[in-house]
Symmetry: C2
Subunit: 271 residues, 2 copies
């Protein structure tokens, strides 16, 4: 897999990678962490120094922050700092990093765009839409104050959206651009396999009944096989067992059992 020509980037490839995010949750930063961990590339994870991490995030998000000479301001974390480059937006950080870490072909190849397409779709279904299940009205309101709406949105997620997106990922695995092995694109692991792993892992934490029923349907075996294959990658396995892996808490993936009270996933599956 060819490396992108970085000569015109305003950074040396030997510059340190820094990840800036809230401490105490995997959150959206987890998608970025998994790339570093799989590649075995060191990175400074500011969330691991929680007494300074919050101030660091708040400074980046400050309404008076208009960036610096070469970087526009960011709206929200995660942010990646690499040399004098600062980037935000998870899928954007991923396409910047993945070719450098050997986890994507460069932007001169069509596969770069097919991988970005898959990453955006998987993040839509299993990250953005999962967040909406517990905050369907307003991110500024407590969950308890939008619980009834959350139940309705979650029912639609479990019965319609999760099966729809799982079926799409299974189609990606059934396509000719996926190789004979477990991976989404070609014969080797890419960053999108890592994105899918984290999405399935987090969604299974938030909606265990839903995901167990969908898994047992046998319709998405390739997806769950891929999930297990990522989990067994040596670097990922040791990362998951380490204290660097944060536990799920009040982030994107939250486990509120009442949100699965009335689901009937089999209704969808029998269609």
């Amino acid at each position: 897999m060819a490396e992108i020509n970085t000569k015109t980037l305003n950074t040396g490839d030997d510059a340190e990678y820094e990840l800036i995010y809230w401490p105490g949750i995997p959150g959206r930063a987890e998608f970025v962490r998994l790339l570093f961990e799989e590649a075995g590339v060191p990175y400074k994870d500011h969330a691991r120094t929680p007494d300074q991490a919050v101030a660091k995030v708040l400074a980046l998000m400050d309404l008076k922050n208009i960036g610096d000479d070469s970087n526009p301001p960011i709206l929200a974390p995660p942010a990646l700092k690499h040399g004098n480059v600062i980037l935000s937006q998870t899928p954007n950080i991923l396409i910047y990093l993945a070719p450098k870490l050997g986890l994507s072909p460069p932007a001169t190849e069509t596969a770069f765009y097919h991988l970005n397409q898959a990453a955006l779709t998987i993040l839509d279904g299993f990250s953005n839409e999962v967040h909406e299940t517990h905050h369907p009205i307003a991110v500024s309101m407590y969950y308890e104050d939008q619980k009834e709406e959350a139940k309705k949105r979650s029912k639609a997620f479990s019965e319609e959206r999760a099966p729809k997106f799982l079926a799409y990922v299974q189609r990606l695995l059934d396509s000719k651009t996926s190789g004979g092995g477990p991976w989404l694109h070609g014969d080797r692991v890419t960053y999108v396999d890592l994105v899918l792993f984290q999405c399935i892992d987090g969604t299974s934490y938030a909606f265990p009944k839903t995901m167990a029923q969908l898994k047992s349907s046998g319709k998405y075996d390739g997806v769950f096989k891929l999930y297990e294959a990522v989990k067994e990658r040596p670097n990922i396995k040791s990362y998951l067992a380490s204290d660097r892996r944060a536990k799920y808490a009040d982030g994107i993936y939250r486990h509120y059992p009442e949100l699965e009270d009335t689901i009937e996933v089999e209704v969808t599956l029998s269609k």
Copy 2:
């Protein structure tokens, strides 16, 4: 602005561009159309032959469609066909097209990622979140059956989200990476200016009271000046006056007056 080296792409730059989308609404395809129109590059817009467009979209989305030899399947339109390349996901189509059309630097430059970061954020705030205002519970349900929830979500959009995202775009315009002129990045128009134009135009259609109040606050003058500057670009101006520009209808941007009944944007603005 250097052109991306397309020699390793599986397509000739002289191949025809085809846009596949639902007929009758601007929708997400509009972001792509505006690039072609600004650049003056011909494209075959399948939505313009409505008797065939729906079948074309449905074939792409078919659950049995697993793509072809070099393209994975797509989940939803818009899709771009260029030579033998098929791509989906709006922000992904934009980063593929923009460097070819002279509306973005290539992926070897940091600005490519800063523009993608801005596009993703603007689309989050003024396209994805606007869609959620009228469908906060389920895309499969009628608006009428989720109207009460839509009112609550819209109130949060008008009072919190729209000001938040407008303030961010204004910060982008105040940053050093924005040039002295009206544009978001440097001294010339990029695709992100076109994305912002469409987002402001559509959101102003859907939430006219909200956007009028926000405009009259004077806090986001740069944003609304940029909107006007795009509108006056010669190619854009003649496009908007042509019958190629679809009218807003039941797409992302819908005008339901009741969704603005109880808004108090000034509450936010006085903070």
